[in-house]
């Protein structure tokens, strides 16, 4: 049996987070009444003219800078011609021969190893409207309903080289890209609402062959899990087809999450004859160096740089640093907490964020932006662990109290709920003397060589202080008293 190599390239449509549409002054907000955010330009009334939104161009520049691409000093909008009811003009304004972003690359991590996926280009274009075949409470009498609110929403289409060799690499790329576009604030990344949609071009070839096999394009993958499943299915289908002596025809396919299979769309052979030509309604887009430099100055520190810096500055493991830089919000939260806790609390802050806070957010289905405990509150609490005011165990109570809004700060909760650790040696000594007197049986057991009895005594002391004694101090005092 032959060994096969998988070749994957990915095209992503990222909806840009602008307020207005790419060529009109309509709002891009999601969830409005159908066709209310579709003005004369969006519905393509005769005589209207597109005017390019500066904000969309800035998003493209930010992306280009983030992936180390060339920002084209001059790029051109073109018409991509096809007929579909959710495309009222009969063409989509896109870019073809001269895109705004050329080249670039994105680092991905697969298992332990890091590698780079090369990008071909990224270009600006407008989204189409939505076709609804049925929806709650509306029967279209066997017709299709068209909502043009999405028509004209700015998209950045990001295209990779055929650079990935497995579904795992493809998903790692998609995740890295998803994190990056959110990090630099150009796309909200909401996959349910269709803000980030991927198409995967998949082909297989015998290992050692230099020419690519015939590819099939899997359209509209709107979750990472579906992407993995769809590519895995497509790869085994192509290999099985070729090994049975068949051929793979170039086609566009859809993934059906129900069956876990991909199937070819019934598309006519002319579907891909788009007859691109420069749009005479739009002049070339000119981006001067000064504009690019200005945007470069406003760029946030990028995820990879932030990750390396967190590891170096706070002595975090590579793994922890990667988790804490999953999003800009999370990284900012972490560093704000450390600022409040002090650098000696950096590792403790990392643990609290990754374990207790993450568990709480997951349970409440919130993201870090909606955290019930602020970074300053968490950092303030960690500061009290570091200086010995509370133990880690007691801190869990403080953490819950802060999440439940029982006080404004850790200090306030420690004071009002009397959670301060008993570090007064005299007070503790008195308490332990009493304990030894009332637990004579345990003391005798310990003296007869049963180490377990010692632990029981420590337990009693912690119970008597409601967990507020310092366990090390209790240990030391007990050892001293029991001689």
């Amino acid at each position: 049996m032959k060994a096969w190599e998988v070749v994957i390239g990915i095209e992503t449509h990222a909806q840009l987070s602008t307020r207005a549409k790419i060529f009109s002054g309509s709002s891009t907000a999601f969830g409005a009444e159908p066709n209310v955010q579709a003005n004369a330009v969006d519905i393509a009334l005769p005589g209207v003219l597109p005017v390019l939104n500066r904000g969309a161009v800035e998003c493209a520049i930010r992306f280009g800078l983030a992936v180390g691409a060339k920002i084209a000093p001059r790029s051109v909008f073109a018409r991509k011609n096809y007929f579909y009811p959710d495309l009222p003009k009969g063409y989509q304004i896109s870019q073809y021969e001269l895109p705004v972003v050329v080249g670039g690359q994105l680092a991905i991590v697969v298992g332990e190893s890091e590698r780079v996926v090369k990008l071909t280009r990224a270009h600006l274009e407008e989204d189409a409207g939505k076709s609804l075949h049925e929806c709650a409470g509306a029967n279209f009498h066997g017709r299709t309903g068209i909502d043009l609110n999405r028509a004209g929403t700015p998209l950045l289409e990001i295209v990779t080289e055929p650079d990935m060799r497995s579904s795992t690499e493809a998903v790692a790329y998609a995740r890295a890209l998803h994190a990056l576009v959110r990090w630099i604030g150009i796309c909200d990344g909401n996959m349910q609402e269709g803000s980030f949609r991927c198409d995967a071009n998949v082909s297989v070839r015998p290992v050692g062959q230099t020419e690519f096999g015939t590819r099939r394009e899997i359209k509209n993958l709107n979750s990472f899990r579906f992407m993995q499943q769809a590519i895995d299915y497509e790869v085994q289908w192509q290999i099985a087809t070729l090994e049975d002596g068949g051929t793979v025809e170039q086609a566009t396919v859809l993934f059906d999450p129900q069956s876990g299979e991909t199937r070819a769309m019934r598309s006519k052979e002319d579907a891909h004859d788009y007859r691109y030509f420069p749009d005479p309604d739009l002049l070339p887009l000119v981006i001067d160096r000064q504009w690019v430099d200005e945007i470069a100055r406003q760029m946030p520190e990028l995820p990879a740089a932030r990750r390396d810096r967190l590891a170096t500055d706070y002595g975090l493991s590579a793994y922890d640093a990667k988790l804490l830089t999953a999003s800009l919000e999370l990284a900012t939260y972490y560093e704000t907490a450390v600022a409040a806790a002090g650098n000696s609390g950096a590792k403790a802050c990392a643990n609290w964020v990754m374990v207790d806070l993450t568990a709480r957010l997951n349970k409440e289905e919130r993201d870090i932006g909606q955290s019930p405990i602020s970074a300053e509150q968490l950092g303030g609490m960690v500061a009290r662990i570091v200086d010995g005011t509370i133990s880690t165990n007691i801190a869990r109570k403080v953490f819950d109290a802060l999440c439940n809004g029982e006080g404004r700060s850790a200090d306030e909760i420690i004071a009002s709920q009397g959670l301060q650790q008993i570090t007064d040696g005299d007070a503790l000594e008195t308490l332990i003397d009493e304990l030894l007197a009332t637990n004579a049986a345990m003391v005798a057991e310990y003296r007869s060589g049963k180490e377990k009895a010692f632990n029981a005594l420590v337990g009693q002391a912690m119970k008597a202080t409601r967990g507020k004694a310092n366990p090390q101090q209790v240990n030391a005092l007990l050892r001293k008293k029991l001689g």
Binding site: T18, R19, A20, S24, G25, S26, S27, A32, E33, P34, N35, V36, Q37, A38, N39, A40, I43, L45, V51, L52, N53, R54, G55, A56, V57, E58, V76, N81, Y84, P85, L98, S131, L132, H133, C135, G137, A138, F140, H141, G142, R143, T144, G145, I146, D147, L148, L254, M265, R266, S267, D270, D273, R275, P278, P280, L282, L283, P284, L285, V286
Partner: protein, 98 residues
Amino acid sequence: MSLTLEQVHRVAHLARIEISDGEAQSTLGQLNEIFSLIEEMQAVDTRGVEPMAHAQDVAQRLRADRVSEAGTIDQRAAFQEVAPETEAGLYLVPRVIE
């Protein structure tokens, strides 16, 4: 180069223009005349000349990212007056499904 009758029919179909065989025949002649004109122009040496994307040599002006038109139900109703069929605010079209 010159076009075939089949190509004329194909282009007409892509543009959703209905043409009769007679029209296709006369269009073929006209288009081929245009192609021969292009062939003549291609004899000109254009090395080092950057292709123009627009007849005017100026740059695109940009609009600020600001919502300048708050859509309203009334405006939608005005737009939809000319639509053959609407329901629940949607334009209705013959069923399309992939």
